[in-house]
Amino acid sequence: MLDLISIEYIKLKNNSSFWIILVFYMLISFYVVGKADSLPAGSDVFANPLQFPMIWLTSTYCASFLVLFPSILIILNIGNEFKYKTAKQHVIDGLSKTTFILSKFISVCLIATIITIYVILLSLFLGWQSGGEIQDFFGEQFSFITGFYIQLIGVLSFAFLIAILFKRTGISIVVFVGYYFIEVILYYLVFKDSPIRDYLPLEVFNSLTFSPIKDNLDSFSGLSIPEFKLSLNWFSAAIGAIYIAICLSLSILIFNRRDV
């Protein structure tokens, strides 16, 4: 296990596109979260979205908008294994196909963990700057960090599955972005009047972070929640976890059935 983590670490550490995309994501999310208090509707409901405990909603919500960046990172990371034929070499060297997929899933967890830790630090910094009460640090709203972490792993798992399925980076990115549009069509047209629409995968993941702005709540949150909730919807989190398990199982199944 430790060996597998260090293998993934060697691959990521020396990969310049990993650092470029990660730093880019961090800078943009810092900028976006930092500007949240200048949103027009911001003062409408809450005094300041950057103060504790609201900062946990603000930061996770804003950061989750930028999830495309780490998703591309995962697609590149998996695509490399096929491009350099190292997926094949790892199996030849003695990894079972299942272990290979699990070792790659470590990358998903590593990237999600790095980003989540960054978002926590970012929130602490911005919250502290806005002069929030120290005792509100880890209030009920901190649960949105858990939601954000599940959402990240979820969306990345989905990108992971697509990358395993299509092997080539370019095609995988197109399919991944294309699915966003497909889900919008499914949500607003196909399942318009059906409760199914709240259980579509990206919808479930999106519902794990909320906008701190009340007016936007209905249009952005997944499960139509009649009024603002100040803690994570654990039911959505459980469904998200199920989707993650499905993505991982499908990846293992597909990779095992295929000649690499």
């Binding site: 060996d3 597998l4 260090s6 293998i7 060697i10 691959k11 020396n14 990969n15 310049s16 490399n80 350099y84 034929k85 190292t86 094949k88 070499q89 790892h90 199996v91 030849i92 060297d93 003695g94 990894l95 079972s96 196909k97 272990t99 000649d259 690499v260």
Partner: protein, 297 residues
């Protein structure tokens, strides 16, 4: 003798063809086994199956005489088709990754780099390597942890003569260390020079297999010449042990039946008053044999 690998009626079917068809073979410990065949004959597919990256349509194989598991492959060093490394990583990092997968001490990296003569370039990125160096790095990676078996697929493919010579020296040195080597190649001289056993395959089928010397002396060939070639031809065809005859530039190439010897033939010619100017018992070169067998298969 211990059997390292046993393959039993292995078949791999693609929608339009059989890449491997009913292939059976057995490889003993310590041998250098050549899998010889033209391009597209199913060598790489066979190796891919025994190395766990491709699945067989039917048939079995077993390493080290027991049930297969992926951890067996940690005792096998393999180079399949092309060297597969991350181009943006240094050679050393690439070897680290392989060593960690196989569960081998990282100290072994220096030893294998020494064997393939890459010690001075270990910290350079893989993408800066020449083709020959890439190939040598792949062999170094295969040698990590002193594997019992080395599987090499076309290890000299695309190399210049010097590179080919270097790789061959490496292979011969490794084989002296008692490592079993399975070598797939389309280059006959390579198999002839390096291997102790050979299996010739074409279109996924095994045409012949055995020790290289058995396969080589399988036929009884004699070069013979004299001043009167026409008379020699006529007399030779009447010899009881005669099988076939081919006229070369300055001599006749006579194939005798297995039962008769060159001494009998020479005696027969003398009693028929043929004065011989040239008489050589010849082993058939593997190349001739190879072209012949694969042609009509």
């Amino acid at each position: 003798m211990d059997t390292i690998l046993k393959i039993d009626s292995l078949t791999k079917k693609y929608p339009s063809l059989f890449a491997v068809s009913q292939l059976s073979l057995s490889i003993d410990k310590g041998s250098v086994f050549g899998l010889l065949g033209p391009n597209g004959s199913g060598k790489t597919t066979t190796l891919g199956i025994i190395l766990g990256v491709a699945s067989a349509t039917s048939g079995n194989f077993s390493w080290f005489g027991k049930k297969n598991s992926s951890s067996d492959r940690k005792k096998i060093g393999a180079l399949l088709e092309t060297p597969n490394f991350y181009s943006y990583l240094s050679a050393k990092s690439n070897l680290k990754i392989s060593a960690k997968i196989k569960g081998i001490d990282l100290k072994d990296i220096d030893r294998v780099a020494e064997i393939v003569n890459l010690k001075d370039r270990l910290n350079d990125k893989f993408k800066t390597y020449s083709l020959g160096m890439k190939q040598r790095l792949a062999i170094a990676s295969a040698l990590l942890g002193n594997p019992e078996v080395l599987v090499l697929d076309e290890p000299t493919n695309g190399l210049d003569p010097q590179g080919i010579a270097e790789i061959r020296t490496v292979i011969q040195n490794i084989s002296k260390m008692g490592v079993t080597i399975i070598l797939a190649s389309h280059a006959l001289d390579e198999v002839e020079k390096v291997c102790s056993h050979v299996c010739v395959i074409k279109k996924g089928k095994s045409l012949i297999q055995g020790s290289v010397s058995d396969v080589l002396v399988g036929e009884n060939l004699i070069e013979v010449a004299c001043s009167e070639i026409e008379k020699l031809k006529e007399i030779t065809t009447k010899f009881s042990g005669f099988k076939a005859l081919k006229e070369e530039n300055h001599y006749l190439l006579v194939t005798l039946k297995d039962s008769s010897s060159s001494i009998e033939f020479s005696k027969y010619l003398i009693t028929n008053n043929i004065i011989i100017s040239h008489f050589v018992k010849r082993t058939k070169s593997l190349e001739e044999f190879f072209l012949e067998t694969t042609k009509d298969a």
